[in-house]
Structure formats: C-alpha cells, structure tokens
Subunit: 237 residues, 2 copies
Amino acid sequence: MTDKTKNNSLNITAVDSSSLVDKVEQTLIDLLISEKLNPGDQIPKELELTEMLGVSRTVIREALNRLKTIGLIESTKRKGSTIKSPDLLFLLKKSLIPNILDQATLKDIFELRLVIEIGMSDLIYNRATPEDIAELEQIVATEPDSSKEVLFDVDHEIKFHGKLYQISGNHTLIDFQTILLPAFRYVYDSGMIKSPDHDSKWVSHQDLVKILKDGNANKFRNAMRKHLDRHFKGYFK
Amino acid sequence: MTDKTKNNSLNITAVDSSSLVDKVEQTLIDLLISEKLNPGDQIPKELELTEMLGVSRTVIREALNRLKTIGLIESTKRKGSTIKSPDLLFLLKKSLIPNILDQATLKDIFELRLVIEIGMSDLIYNRATPEDIAELEQIVATEPDSSKEVLFDVDHEIKFHGKLYQISGNHTLIDFQTILLPAFRYVYDSGMIKSPDHDSKWVSHQDLVKILKDGNANKFRNAMRKHLDRHFKGYFK
DNA sequence: TTATTGGATTATGTCATACATAATGCGTTT
DNA sequence: AAACGCATTATGTATGACATAATCCAATAA
C-alpha cells in the first residue's frame, strides 16, 4: 500500500516495449549497414547469431525471417543466408490491398499517379520509338467513341496509359504502375473520381499521340497535363 | 536398394519448392482479401490456425510474422492479431539501404525523382501559401553563390526541394522523399551525376520562386523542367 | 455502493530440443 | 575416371514448456 500508484509517479524513463525480435531485427539491419556488405555476402549462421546475441534460435529465426520478407536476405539449406539486393516494389505489391487501405492513402496514391504521368512525359517523348507510336495509334483506333460521353472505359484507359509507362523505359516506374493498378481501378470503381466532363481544352488520347509524333517535349508535357485535367479538377476548385 | 533413382523418372509435374511458410503466408493473404476484412477486424488465434491449416504453430507464427513485417496485421498479447491499414512506405524505408541496391535500381530511383518533381509542379502551384513562398525565399536567400560554379551543395539542394515536397501536401509523396533521400545523397556522392553546367537557359532556385509567385501553372511546370535539365542531360544526349 | 486489489484466464512471446530435408563434399567401388 | 553411397552441415518443421502482457471477475476494503 505504500506507493503502488506507479502511474502517477514521475521521472519515468519510457521503457521500450519492443519485443526481443524487434531488437534483434534492428541489430541485424545495423550490422548490414555498418559492415558495408554487398549482395552475395554471407551472414553468420543462425546458431552463431544465437551465441553472438544471446537469444534463442527462435528469436533469431523470426528476425531473419523478417529480413527475408523485406527482401534483404535469402536463405538456402546448407549454405546459410546471403545478402540480396532487395526488390523494392515486390514489397508494395504484397501490402497493397486496396480494400484495406484507408481513403486518405488511396487519394494520395491516385494523386501520385497524376504526378507521375505528367512528370513521365519527358521520358516518353525522348524514348518513344516509331513502333511505340504505331502501337499507340493502334490503341486509340480501337477506342470507344469519346465524343459521346459514354461510360468511362477503365480498361481502355489502363491500356493506353499502361503503354505510356512501358515507353518510359524506367523499370521501377513500370513495376510501380502494375502495382498501383488495383488501387487505380478501385478508385475508379468506387466513384471517388467523377466521370469526364470534357471542356473545350480537352486533350484526347488521339491528340496526345499526334503531339507525341509531331510536337516537341514541352508541348507533349503540357498536353498531358491538360489530358489529366479533369482529375485535377477534383482537387483544385 | 530397389529403385532409388527417383531423379531419372520422367513425367515430373514441377514440384513447387516453396516452403510451408510460403504457402501458409499466401493462404492467409488470400483470406484477408476474400473475406473483405477491414482494419481492426480480428483474425483467428495461432492455435486455431494451427488446427485449421494442419501445420505446426511454428509455421503459423512465421507466416504471421511476415504479415506483421509487411504491415498487414499487428498483434497484442491476449487479444490476438488484428488487421491493420498498412503504411506502404514504411517497408521501403527499411529495405532501402543504398549500398546494397544495384546501380540500375539506383538510376531508376533517381530518374523517378525527376519525374515526380516535374509532375508535382501542379500540386505545388495550386497549394503554395504566401507563407510557403516566404519560406522558399528565405531558403534561397541563404543559398551559396551559384554563379561561382562552386561545389554542388547537396544539403542546400535537399533543403529547397524538400520544402517543395512539403508544399505538395501529399503525405505519401512527402514520405517518399524522406525515404528516397539516402538514395539521392548516395547518387550525388558517388559521382554518378555530373556537376552542374549552367547553360543560358538555366533556371535557378531563385527563378523558380519568382515564377511560383508571379507566373502561372504552366510556366512553373516548364520552369521546373528546365531547372532539372542538367540531370536529364545525362540520360538523353 | 464504489473503488481497489489480487488472482485466474487467455493468447502471444520466448526458450529448448529433436528430427526432417536439401545441398555439398568426400571417399569407395566398379 | 565416373558413379554411387555416406557423412556433414545449416536451414526447415514439429512439439512441449514456460514467460509475459492484457483482460475479466470476484473478493475485499473504504
């Protein structure tokens, strides 16, 4: 009965509630960084780590398993674990489950798409081959008639813009798009984005291809901005 | 001693070499998706899963541990594991250790930065407050004299552009920048990027701020493109 | 009655041990 | 010299035990 009121006592030093595995994980990551290890290098065996860090093999394994999950190491039977150059996007793919993401993040991601597609213009303009342009022309040729204000064709939208990503030639970007696709589709389907209301300055897919073919980098970039304008309108009024 | 030569037998059906944990992990992820679970919902206890899937608790725990690592669930004592809205960028932060990434990925990431900063122009232009602009002016005022072709000041570069990300107001983007910063710095330091050679059309930070203040969205976007031109030059010659 | 206390309970966290399995190397056999 | 079998090694899986934090609930004291 003396002073069991721990909660009221001051001068608490904020004990870390992290689990053992958390600590070991961080220790290992620090080790990777400080030791300047390169992909292919080996890290100590589980049992060695057990002794080095003074915890059970269970904890070591759970920590290693985490590194494996984020792609920093890979393990084979007899050989042990080796450093690996992580595939950054592989991770996103696993954790990006649209119906679990909150609205704010989804909105951020959709906005990120706009940002990327505009900024990507310069890559596209500089790297598009005649074959790429031909393919784009092919795609718009089979396009549903946009003048009729028909239902927004998500699949076609994705087809055209997907080709643009591919032209960009940046693999991280390409992966990025395929990963974010479920989120895009989810946003489209959920009605967060209003259907198109083409005003006089509207730039169609067809216009874009024409400018890509005969215009210049600046024109193409600004055209892309106008093409995406209806989405921006949701944000800036 | 009879027929131990299993290896030579034909009609092999490509046995999957994935471990038990791999399978359980995928099973659980599929479960999350198909069950349309929302953040906060509980998933079965470890022992229940043990029975449901017919594997040991070890395997269940390792699989759960992976989901925990990619931020899909979190676990507390007594309560069990619950669904969580994953922080997409949190993972990248952990796995992005520049000296482990390969050159190609580093180049992609740096290129991605250019793409984002150009595309971000519209967000910046539409969301910059007078206070933001004042702060930018403050930053360029303390800028080392760029006319002297001095050493490229990475810290200052990051300070200015960091503020731009902040103005964009997109939290995913902001996180993205802080995460990619180590990679940027690494690229700068490693000499993959050549030092600036300002040509006649060079747009300085100071110019950018002026245009942001008195120009329009198109001008600002194109100015940003010119500002980053020296980096692009490395790619398109 | 109300608030506090102190188990009892529950599910995750950690430990220890044993065995399974795949990869590798080495020596024996033919 | 090539093929086979065996021992070795380190990760993968299973099991049982106990530690620990969170929670509930009943007993107790004000």
